[in-house]
Amino acid sequence: MEFGNVKRRVVRKKDVIGEQPTVKYEIIESPHPYNLELYKKHPNDVINLEDFEKIAWHRFNVLKAVEDMKERHGADPKEYMNQMNTTLSSTSKGAYFPVAFPVESNQWKILSSEEKRKWKRDDLVGNYILRLAFCRTPEDQKWLITNEVDLFRFRFQHNMTLSDNSKRDDLTQFLRDNSIDVEQLSEDEKLRLGEEMMAGCAYANGIKTTSDFWKINFTAASDLVRRRKCFLKGGMAYLPTEDLQYILSTHYRVQLAMTLNRAYKYLPNIQNESNRLKPFLEKLANRAYIGKEFLGGDSTQITRHMIEPLSKDFPLCMRNIHQSLRAEHHLKHGARQQYGLFLKAIGLPLEEALAFMREEFTKKIDSDKFEKQYAYNVRHMYGKEGRRKDYAAMPCQLIILGAPPTAGDCHGCPYKHQDTKVLERSLLKDGLNKVQVEKILNFTKVSRFDKACTRQFEFARGMMEGGLGQLVTHPNQYYEFAIQVRDGKRHEEHIEVLKSQTPASHWNSQVTTNDIPPATNHIQSSAQSMDM
């Protein structure tokens, strides 16, 4: 399984064209192909760079959509399935077949075998490219695993809803292909275990003989064992077909985590690709968190006197720094960087920034010292010194993964870096109630800082959970949303508009301009729908 080598081969397409055996996507020829895939066989055919990027962006967009769907409809499984269905299975909008192709016979049948092959290949290749792109940090890995597993589980559930008789054969075939050690119960065994087994599986309405039952070693069913949702006997867990999804998704999760680590090991093998592949892969991974780049200076300009009233719409990290600045009349480097770039991006011009900092700092030090020690720093941020680079504001990812604050520092992400007690106090002070604060703290405990921040946004603005409709991934994005809400340009109702708009724009942007970062596109398109 020389993962790295595979990629190398993939990239040196021109040298090897015609010499490599193309991988056979055998399942295509089957009349009832299942769309479940654990991606164990690596692709080894030739692919050109353009396709490479197209496929990668496409799969990335699908996963991004999966994440959004869960964020919006996670609380309502039915609605979630509906939305996933419409979003992921619409073929009309894109030249690419959706990754979550529902294998409903008629839709599948109309495809030519070439199209089927392509679909299968893209599914496989896309998964492998994203593995390579997302293997570098634990956060990236987690993002990919979460959303890949959700996609997998959606496909499984979707298959379950099909009335087609063949789904059972497909499933059996799938389990056999992936050598998953699960055995279907015979009718005899089912009757023998009877009611006890049904009770063990938490079947509320007595015996349901129509459903198939399976047995598997209990170690593979630990989720169900934990919740006492399967029947156990002699070390085997007995469960209905529906519950196989937990087993399989755990299986997939473990396997994906393993292959990601392996991909990471082989990453140096594509070192000589530093010009072509590496920047692309890095860009891909970064898009998971960063929406657009906030450079500032586009249209709105603010003055230093507006900062104070505006600060109530700042995210908590920025408010912390702001308060610290007001109280201490000083900021250490980390905070100056984080806050300074944020202010720049919301439209504070250089002269105002200098004046703002000077006013505060000179309450403690004389202005000579300020000019000598700090003014350079401010001008540098605005690209007027040194490299003269116009720095963009820091996204959450950078803030969270960057140097953590030490004593005397006030930068960082409060959900990640702040003591729980302190965080709890400041949230309560914000007027959130205990239940809400508890919810937010629970997210911080499982390292979902983005969710914690999003919830804070919603609760502080009296919106319902998930009302924002997406996750905060950038302090300036938070601020933009906050301003929209303040001005009445963004309501919860807009989710409805978003629902129908987002998927379409996803596929559209994909086909026409695959070099535009799609996530950016996504946010912009949401912003547009906001203005409607």
């Binding site: 006890e196 009770a199 063990g200 170690t219 593979a220 934990r226 006492r228 070390g235 292959t259």
Partner: protein, 435 residues
């Protein structure tokens, strides 16, 4: 055996003597080797010595039995804990970046202090023979569930030295569980979260509730046990003062009235009434035998008796002990420094016969050895325990080791079969060591 109070001032000397003459090194090492060379398992096992003043010496490991014996006698630790088997010898833990636990028995911990709200004979650290019945019943129930549901064969129940028991499961599958699987098993077995039960028995707001077969199984086990009968009356679970608490569980006005009425009777008749009303089997049998027609209880409280029985006697586990592969747990045959009691392996079939107030004690064992073992001085080192009351417990220990080794042998044979086929490296369903 005299029951004079334990005097810990002499502990240091006794410990040294105990480790030198009585500690069953041979069996102990045999256990930890699981039928392989010492370098395969034994040498990778973490031992922790706890010295006087709570000094913990972690990550000790030993090449072989002789090495271990020498050090144990030399250090004479107050407590001996066992940890996991690691990827490298634990004493080299700082040398390897990939040092991590790879295998460990699945362990359970039951402690009487968790029974606070149902134990009326004693409180906190004190224990009497009556209290032990809680433990005995808990072991009876859990031992059966572990066998029936999980198919574990090598189960060892060890007296913790004061007021509880530990269970060590040495099956290969149990040893190879990863942390989340351990947690899953522990949570499956645990019907309590803190003081509250985490099982929905129906009642308030919920109409009827299907109970997991394991819950019904535990209920039946308890109900059939004589231990439960004696606990019921000894701990006064049906005393007048408990009535209010019991009635809180029931919504149905009529049933509340009936139970209140039954409490005018004697304790044993109260119980008879509850059985006939709420236990389906008893009710059906009673109706058939006497021609009476006791109605089944309404759906909202049909599980009331199950709740009652399990709330009072279902094993209360300390889940945290079970979930971590590298969690340290007191070793069998370790001396409890405060009571002098030896952590002896028990026979789960005869666990009710164990007298917790007369447990083997380090000073008494030494005395027995001096009195009985005179003429076999040369054999003392290995068989010292044979001349003391520890003998039976070492027998229990050996029975466990036999089962564990047989299971290990069986799994090795299976593994060989598998190895002939192409290995399935990626499948965590097959290779269970994957984290």
């Amino acid at each position: 055996m005299s029951a004079s109070a334990f005097e810990p001032s002499n502990l240091e000397a006794w410990l040294r003597e105990y480790y030198r003459t009585i500690f069953p090194f041979k069996s102990y090492t045999k256990w930890l080797c699981y039928g392989e060379k010492p370098s395969e398992k034994f040498a990778l096992r973490e031992f922790a010595f706890i010295l006087e003043g709570d000094t913990h010496l972690r990550y000790r490991s030993f090449q072989n039995e002789a090495d271990f014996e020498k050090d144990l006698i030399k250090m004479a630790p107050h407590k001996l804990d066992l940890g996991a088997i690691y990827s490298h010898p634990p004493k080299e833990n700082k040398k390897h970046s990939d040092f991590k636990p790879v295998e460990r028995e699945f362990v359970l911990d039951i402690d009487l202090t968790d029974y606070g709200n149902v134990r009326t004979c004693c409180t906190k650290a004190t224990v009497c023979a009556k209290c032990w019945k809680f433990i005995a019943l808990a072991v009876n129930i859990l031992d059966k569930i572990l066998e029936e549901d999980f198919g574990f064969v090598a189960r060892m129940w060890v007296f913790s030295g004061r007021r509880g028991v530990h269970c060590w499961i040495g099956d290969v599958q149990a040893r190879q569980l990863n942390n989340s699987q351990r947690q899953a098993v522990a949570e499956y077995l645990s019907l309590f979260s803190g003081d509250k039960m985490n099982v929905n028995f129906g009642g308030k707001k919920v109409r009827s509730q299907i109970l997991h077969p394991m819950v019904n199984f535990a209920y039946k086990c308890a109900l059939q046990s004589e231990l439960f009968q004696s606990l019921l009356f000894e701990q006064q679970w049906l005393s007048d003062s408990r009535l209010d608490f019991l009635l809180q569980q029931i919504e149905d006005e009529e049933v509340v009235g009936q139970i209140t009425k039954s409490f005018k009777l004697k304790d044993s008749e109260r119980w008879d009434y509850l059985l006939k009303k709420f236990d389906e089997e008893t009710r059906v049998a009673h109706n058939a035998k006497t021609g009476a027609s006791i109605d089944p209880p309404p759906a909202t409280c049909e599980n009331f008796l199950k709740w009652f029985v399990l709330y009072h006697c279902y094993p209360r586990l300390d889940v945290n002990v079970s979930t971590g592969m590298n969690h340290l747990l007191k070793s069998p045959f370790c001396v409890h420094p405060a009571t002098g009691n030896i952590a002896v392996p028990l026979n789960p079939k005869k666990i009710h016969e164990f007298d917790v107030t007369q447990a083997p004690r380090v000073d008494q064992l030494l005395k027995q050895l001096r009195e009985n073992g005179q003429n076999s001085a040369e054999n003392r080192r290995i068989l010292g325990y044979n001349h003391t009351s520890l003998k039976d417990y070492v027998h229990n220990f050996n029975m466990f080791i036999m089962k564990a080794l047989a299971n290990a042998e069986e799994e090795r044979a299976k593994q060989k079969d598998l190895d002939i086929k192409p290995p399935e490296i990626d499948s965590p369903l097959r290779s269970r060591t994957v984290n």
